[in-house]
């Protein structure tokens, strides 16, 4: 139990350490993974089929933004928006290394421009705008590009009159852009109100981790807010709190399940049910034309559930089958945001 707590605690030091590693594998999408919670080992293909959730224990692995879009919609079924916006370096910032070098490394590591991907997508046949953060790009931190793309996503969804889905996975504001990164909190909060004026809903998905200036801005303002199991959701992380106040925090501090009890989220939703759950709430709040009057449950509801079931059945259901492949040690490199 303590191991679980330790493994999924976000330590900024650890994140930075990971960020510095030169020998990191490339994109996590194709990598085999060892579950940090139960040590089960899976091929990349198994992980992808099971939406990067450990079939044995339900541990939720991190997912890249593009793979998220495929999980929510149909494979390849989205149109990416504003993919060529890139970060500037307004402060000529250098800590241990220059910010421009960090961006270059993140770009080559992830194959992405920035820590967020925006797209037009259909989730269970409901057209939406999706803004998906990617923790693998500089810890999902929010600088001017993330703020700008989120604001555009809000304005675009409002203008088209279709729902906005935001998935957060971020350590907070991007330190390297200083005060201007802080201002992105203001920009995103204000931009969200475009949707209120257009009377379209915002569905917020809190993935691990959602902390700092991201939790204290748009991420806490969803109309419907779902959290993934085990996601850390906090303004101040456990380490900062323990160092500042000398409090001893419970192992599940800030975790999705506890934040549900605290009244901070509407539900904790397993990733394998997430698309169906979003589809369901969108069919209530923003049904495609005519569907609001349907007396029978829409087809996607059964289809979605069946599909989840099929995926689950096609995977090894017990660790026994894969015991022989379990390796000592763990894939902590890509464990969810240690």
């Amino acid at each position: 139990m303590s191991r679980v707590g330790r493994n999924i605690t976000v330590s900024i030091d650890r994140l930075r350490h990971l960020g510095h590693r030169q020998d990191r594998p490339g994109r996590i999408a194709s990598d085999a993974s060892t579950c940090p919670k139960c040590d089960s080992h899976y091929s990349g293909d198994e992980m992808r089929r099971n939406l990067r959730v450990c079939p044995a224990c339900g541990h939720h692995f991190p997912v890249t933004a593009h793979e998220r879009l495929e999980q929510l919609g149909e494979p390849g079924g989205y149109v990416e928006l504003w993919s060529d916006l890139r970060a500037a370096d307004p402060l000529q910032f250098t800590d241990i290394k220059p910010y421009v070098d960090r961006i270059r490394e993140a770009e080559s590591k992830t194959g992405m421009n920035e820590a967020i991907v925006c797209a037009e997508i259909e989730v269970r046949h409901v057209p939406c705008v999706a803004a998906i953060m990617d923790f693998t790009f500089m810890g999902g931190s929010m600088g001017a590009v993330v703020g700008e793309k989120l604001a555009r996503a809000c304005e675009h969804a409002a203008q088209k009159g279709i729902p906005l889905i935001i998935l957060s996975s971020s350590g907070g504001a991007r330190m390297q852009e200083g005060t201007l990164a802080l201002m992105q909190m203001a920009k995103t909060v204000i931009a969200l109100d475009a949707l209120a004026e257009a009377q379209v809903p915002v569905i917020m998905i809190l993935a691990h981790p959602t902390t700092g200036g991201v939790w204290a801005s748009f991420a806490s303002l969803g109309d419907v807010t779902y959290a993934e199991p085990g996601a850390l959701i906090a303004f101040s992380g456990p380490r900062v709190i323990e160092e500042t106040t000398r409090e001893v925090l419970p192992a599940d501090f800030g975790r999705a399940e506890r934040q549900l009890a605290n009244g901070q989220v509407d539900a904790v939703v397993d990733r394998r049910e997430l698309a169906a759950r979003i589809g369901r709430v969108l069919h209530i709040l923003a049904p495609p034309d005519g569907e609001a009057l349907l007396a029978t449950p829409p087809g996607w509801a059964q289809g979605g559930a069946e599909r989840v079931g099929r995926v689950a059945q096609s995977l090894p259901s017990i660790p026994g089958k894969i015991m022989g492949r379990i390796r000592p040690g763990s894939g902590d490199d890509e464990g969810p945001a240690e």
């Binding site: 916006l85 504001a173 200083g178 005060t179 201007l180 990164a181 920009k187 204000i190 101040s236 925090l249």
Partner: protein
């Protein structure tokens, strides 16, 4: 100070020039000195200003939900023949008071109290002035469990929605979302020796250098001075302090602040609520340079000129 019009352009320009050049590897001692002044133990705090610039100030207490947060002050006062709502983080002067005020680190109840007062002000049509002075929102387990993140985001949301004029003044240390929670305004003013940053130098040092002793270098990297914030477009004006800093003369510091506030409020009161809200949104929408292949090299938000007087 002379008459109703604050002087000081030349003074501000001089300071701007001095701080504005800060770059390069070596530690800029002027910049560090300015940051130390922002947190000077004798610096005037929120109530020091409010009590000097208002006649009659009625402080309100409690968020009507959970409790009262002494780290946040909120209430109404008379300012130049009108009622004005004031809210702001409050630091303490001696050890007991510092503990009582929680070092100016507000809890969710603080933001909810200030929101309550802002809603009343909006309903009654009185302008709102926020005074920002905090190392950040309180990082405690109890604050987290009562929704610190949501309290800050909802405070920002409310401030953007307000119909009445809103002015935010960074009077000392403005760090992190805890500061920005009171920062969504038609005009953001900064005292000459105040700072406005994504994180305190000490916090940045621990995170980025993994060494708490690198605060000077962190400050150097963030350059969060009033003059730089003006240049970035984060601040709309820099308010001069008495020679040597606000701590040397509370009366004069408050007098200058009052003059700037009055002038700013008169400007804003000449606009309609709709005009103010559009401008308020656009003001924050512009902030944050980036490389946009379609829109040119960068979306510049900054200014080249020094702050006007």
């Amino acid at each position: 100070m002379s008459g109703g019009k604050p002087d000081g352009p030349s003074f501000v320009r001089r300071v701007t020039g001095k701080l504005g050049r800060s770059s390069g590897a070596q530690v800029d001692e002027d910049l560090w000195a300015s940051i130390q002044l922002a947190r000077h133990a004798e610096r005037p705090y929120t109530l020091d200003y409010i009590n000097r610039i208002t006649s009659d100030f009625e402080e309100l207490h409690g968020d009507r939900l959970f409790g009262d947060d002494p780290a946040m002050v909120a209430g109404f006062g008379r300012f130049h023949d009108r009622a004005v709502a004031f809210v702001g983080q409050q630091k303490g002067r001696d050890t007991n008071e510092r503990t009582y005020r929680n070092f100016g680190m507000a809890s969710p109840e603080g933001y909810r109290k200030s929101m309550r007062v802002m809603e009343i002000a909006n309903r009654l049509g009185m302008p709102i002035v926020t005074l920002i002075d905090t190392p950040g929102a309180f990082p405690g387990a109890s604050a987290e469990e009562r929704g610190q993140g949501g309290a800050i985001s909802r405070s920002m949301q409310l401030m953007w929605r307000l119909d009445v004029p809103v002015v935010a003044v960074v009077i000392g240390e403005g760090s992190s979302g805890g500061a920005l929670g009171l920062g969504i305004a038609d005009r953001v003013l900064m005292l000459e020796n105040s700072t406005y940053s994504v994180i305190s130098p000490e916090g940045a040092s621990a995170i980025l250098w993994r060494d708490a002793s690198q605060a000077k270098r962190a400050a150097q990297a963030f350059k969060p001075t009033a003059a730089n914030c003006y240049r970035w477009g984060v601040a709309d004006a820099v308010i001069p302090e008495p020679p040597g800093g606000a701590h040397t003369d509370h009366e004069q510091a408050a007098e200058i602040l009052g003059q700037y506030l009055q002038r700013t409020l008169l400007e804003l009161e000449a606009q309609t609520p709709a005009e103010r809200r559009v401008a308020r949104r656009d003001r924050f929408r512009r902030l944050g340079p980036l490389r946009d292949p379609e829109g040119g090299v960068a979306m510049a938000s900054g200014r080249d000129a020094p702050p006007p007087g």
